[in-house]
């Protein structure tokens, strides 16, 4: 199933790693574009229930996980006060 990881607010030149099924599937530097409130969208193909782990910082400052859910295929990731917050959304997040 296809899910989308939406890295949103709080990222400023920050290394981010996304792991799924025990493997690193994405590794990049994230910066939130203030015009839209979005840093990056990472599409992934996962099995239902597979865990996705998002880590921020090098060395890792914060980590959060979520399980892929077909009913809520959008995972929003926000960094608030140095801590990652993940949430599963049914509707595709919009940016303006």
């Amino acid at each position: 199933m296809r899910i989308e990881i939406h890295l949103q607010e709080g990222f400023s030149d920050l290394p981010v790693t996304i792991e799924a099924g025990g493997a690193v599937v994405a590794d990049f530097i994230a910066t939130t574009r203030l015009m839209t409130g979005l840093a990056k969208i990472v599409p992934l193909d996962l099995r239902r229930g597979e865990e996705v782990k998002v880590s921020a910082g090098k060395p890792v400052a914060s980590t959060a996980t979520a399980k892929a859910d077909a009913a809520k295929p959008f995972v929003t990731v926000n960094l608030v006060d140095g801590k990652l917050h993940l949430a599963l959304e049914e509707r595709q997040p919009g940016y303006l």
Partner: protein
């Protein structure tokens, strides 16, 4: 530079739905003015709402009436709205008798009258924005201050503490300064009082601003009303051919989910920003952009949109301006999740372009929505206003407190994650977008309005980092002056005509016209630090002359008797960026000097630079009018700039009768009057050493004597008295230093003879004769 729009459909004027709005006075967000309980009373005043028969705007002048108004007893005292933009208007100066030098026998030097109008320069510019009524008043007064000489900028915002209607259209508003930007010395007070009063007739006729408090003397400024709006702005709306029917207006009654008290009216993009305080002009240039400009994938990247903006926006320019481009396109490269973006954060001038994506999530009405079509229209309209708000530098409601690497708010701001503003995401608030729109009134928050209306304009203006005025010249009597000084700029010769290639030298004369002796620095006009000179080639922009050299000397003052003057001389065709007088034509020149708080400005001098006399002058021009040649002339020689010195030798050889020749001869020979130090970098920067080029006094003296004394009047005319006689003095000193006392005496005698012939100041002649006597 703005480009002519091009598209397969050409530029066209597309019909857009008109706004249909309530009359301002009927709108709940509109404050029509003030009404008091009785005439002449400032007790019991209250803001009046929307159902008064009050004239909504101050007239530009008094309205003549046939006689006293019949009025019932008691007649309500009312004050019409005053919100808007005002500008400082200097008080007219009392006419004074100008000081004109008396003609003297021999060679009178009288400045020629300036033909034609004098171009104005506004050295002090004050813009006041009063915000106490009309739409969504914020109870602020802001002042934008710009003094051009010496350069001083400041901006303050004051919060209104009292607003009184003391009589029919007699209003007094007092505000306390709470925000400062720029030079704090410019506006030293703490309290601002704005007064609007009628003079004759019923309407306002006079406006003043007072600044008091902070232990400073009260400053009062006469104002003139400019506009009900705080600034002008232009929007240009283009669309891509596959964007479909775009939404630029919305009827607030279309969707049932809305506040019960929300007026039902059709709002347009311009209506929203007009109510935010801007005089909006919609550009008539609308373009349908071909889809091909989005590239093969059909979706738009930020770069592609930026390219389109440069190509199609008729106002595009690499400069700040109150203008903004709005593009309706189908979809961004990011996909359906991006409904709109202020894409213009690349290049030097940001925030000039915005885009709305019609084929994105903004058209996905919630399942079961009672009016899906109305929902879509509202969302697209809302998105357009939102993106345009970013161009005004408004942040998202939940990002306002961000700082550090993310940026800086202009003042400490709280995040407003629940605000009902165009700058919040409707789906981010508690309860989601249905809750948002249930009490959204199609407006910005108070903080956002304060920012847009009153923040330093460079923070708001599209593409801006700094506010830039255009300026011209102004007649001297337009500024309030004490009359203690008179400044004159003149060429020190009969004619204001200059030959092509001839460097233009001007003399400044500052006369004590106070009637009493004063203390002053005699080097004030010569050191380059206390004066400003402005030039304008007619038909072109005004430029400020920036001298290649300024001198820092120990400040000293001497007595300057009544009627006595101090002098200075400058080659104004050469400046830090090279030649600024380098083309034939008419030029206007004006100077100003800072006399410790009072700016004294000179007459406007009009001079003419002729065309090349022959092909030789024309052929030399590209090599002559360069920064290096300007340096050689300005610094009286520069052996390190050998190619530039070669150009001057060419001028001497090819154009022997051109007045540039004495300048060139002096510049080429002056370094040879002494052992000339040079920094030798041949061995590299680490091994640089100081070497000396030995003097060639005899050779230099011959060249200088030829340049200065073979045709002395011509040389003095073009070089100017101060530089001419100064160079003769340097020559005599060099000769004396190298043992040629007889030749030195001869030069000094010739110099004194010329001084008398040219009617130089007797004190200067006396000094020269005393020096000669010491050597005889």
């Amino acid at each position: 530079m703005a480009k002519t729009p091009k598209s397969s459909g050409g530029t066209s004027f597309e019909e857009r739905p008109e706004a249909v709005t309530l009359p301002d006075e009927e709108h709940p967000d509109y404050v029509a003015g003030q009404i008091a309980d009785g005439e002449g009373s400032d007790a019991g005043t209250s803001e009046f709402g929307f159902d008064a028969n009050i004239s909504p705007s101050p007239a530009p002048g008094p309205l003549p009436l046939p006689g006293p108004l019949p009025r019932p007893f008691p007649f309500p005292t009312f004050c019409s709205p005053v919100s808007g933009r005002y500008r400082y208007v200097p008080l007219p100066k009392q006419p004074s008798v100008p000081t004109i030098p008396a003609p003297v026998p021999g060679r009178p030097i009288i400045p020629r009258p300036v033909p034609g109008p004098i171009i104005p320069i506004n050295l002090l510019s004050i813009t006041v924005r009063v915000d106490v009524d009309r739409f969504l008043p914020q109870n602020r007064i802001s002042i934008e201050w710009h003094k051009r000489f010496p350069n001083q900028r400041a901006h303050v915002i004051a919060e209104v503490r009292s607003d009184s209607c003391t009589g029919i259209n007699n209003r007094v508003i007092v505000a306390d300064i709470v925000y400062r930007d720029g030079d704090p010395a410019a506006i030293p007070g703490t309290t601002v009082t704005f007064r609007a009063r009628r003079t004759t007739g019923l309407f306002y006729g006079a406006y003043t601003l007072e600044i008091t408090g902070g232990g400073t003397a009260k400053q009062t400024f006469n104002l003139s009303f400019q506009s009900e709006k705080f600034d002008n702005v232009e929007f240009e709306v283009d669309r891509v051919s596959n964007a479909g029917t775009i939404v630029t207006a919305y009827n607030t009654g279309d969707h049932p989910n809305r506040p019960a008290t929300l007026p039902v009216e059709t709002l347009s993009l311009e209506t929203v920003y007009e109510r935010a305080g801007f005089d909006v002009r919609m550009s008539p240039n609308t373009t349908v952009i071909p889809t091909a400009d989005a590239g093969a994938d059909g979706t738009w990247s930020d770069t592609e949109m930026h390219n389109a903006m440069v190509t199609y926006w008729s106002r595009f320019a690499d400069k700040p301006q109150w203008a903004l481009w709005v593009l309706y396109a189908a979809r961004h490269d990011q996909g359906r999740s991006l409904g709109g973006v202020m894409f213009d954060d690349i290049g030097q001038n940001h925030r000039q372009g915005t885009a709305i994506f019609t084929d994105s999530f903004i058209k996905d009405a919630p399942v079961g929505d009672p009016n899906a079509a109305g929902w879509r229209q509202r969302m697209e309209f809302w998105t357009a206003i939102h993106e345009m708000g970013h161009a005004f530098n408004l942040a998202h409601a939940w990002q306002k407190a961000l700082s550090g690497s993310f940026g800086h708010p202009w003042i400490p701001l709280p995040n407003e994650p629940e605000s009902r503003s165009f700058m919040n995401y409707p789906f981010r608030v508690t309860g989601g977008e249905s809750t948002f729109f249930s009490d959204f009134r199609f407006r910005f928050t108070d903080d956002e309005l304060v920012f847009m209306r009153h923040a330093p304009r460079r923070f708001v203006q599209m593409g801006n980092s700094d506010w830039f005025f255009n300026h011209g010249f102004e007649a001297p009597d337009a500024l309030s002056q004490t009359g203690d000084w008179t400044l004159q700029i003149r060429p020190n010769r009969d004619s204001n005509m200059f030959r092509f290639l001839e460097p233009v030298t001007m003399e400044l004369k500052l006369t004590n016209t106070s009637g009493t002796a004063v203390q002053g620095d005699p080097d004030l006009l010569q050191d380059g630090r206390h004066i400003s000179v402005y030039l304008q080639r007619e038909g072109c922009e005004t430029r400020r002359w920036m001298p290649m050299m300024t001198r820092c000397h120990e400040e000293h003052s001497e007595k300057i008797d009544a009627g006595e003057a101090i002098f200075g001389s400058h080659m104004i065709s050469t400046a830090t960026d090279g030649f600024i007088i380098d083309e034939p034509g008419f030029y206007k020149v004006q100077a100003a000097v800072d006399m410790g708080g009072e700016i004294v400005i000179s007459n406007v001098l009009r001079l003419y630079v002729g065309s090349p006399a022959d092909n030789k002058e024309a052929a030399l021009a590209p090599e002559f009018f360069t920064e290096n040649v300007a340096r050689v002339l300005a610094f009286n020689g520069a052996p390190a700039l050998a190619p530039a010195e070669d150009v001057l030798r060419e001028v001497i050889a090819q154009c022997p009768d051109n007045p540039a020749v004495p300048h060139a001869k002096v510049a080429l020979s002056a370094p040879q009057l002494r052992d000339f130090k040079v920094l030798d970098l041949e061995a590299g920067r680490e091994s640089m050493k100081l070497t000396s080029i030995s003097n060639k006094v005899s050779k230099a003296a011959a060249a200088q004597t030829d340049a200065l004394l073979s045709k002395p009047d011509a040389a003095a005319d073009t070089i100017g008295h101060i530089a001419y006689f100064g160079q003769l003095r340097s020559l005599a000193e060099a000769l004396e230093e190298h043992g040629a006392e007889d030749k030195a005496v001869k030069v000094m005698k010739e110099s004194i003879k010329m001084m008398k012939h040219r009617n130089i100041l007797q004190t200067v002649i006396d000094n020269a004769e005393r020096r000669l006597k010491r050597r005889s």
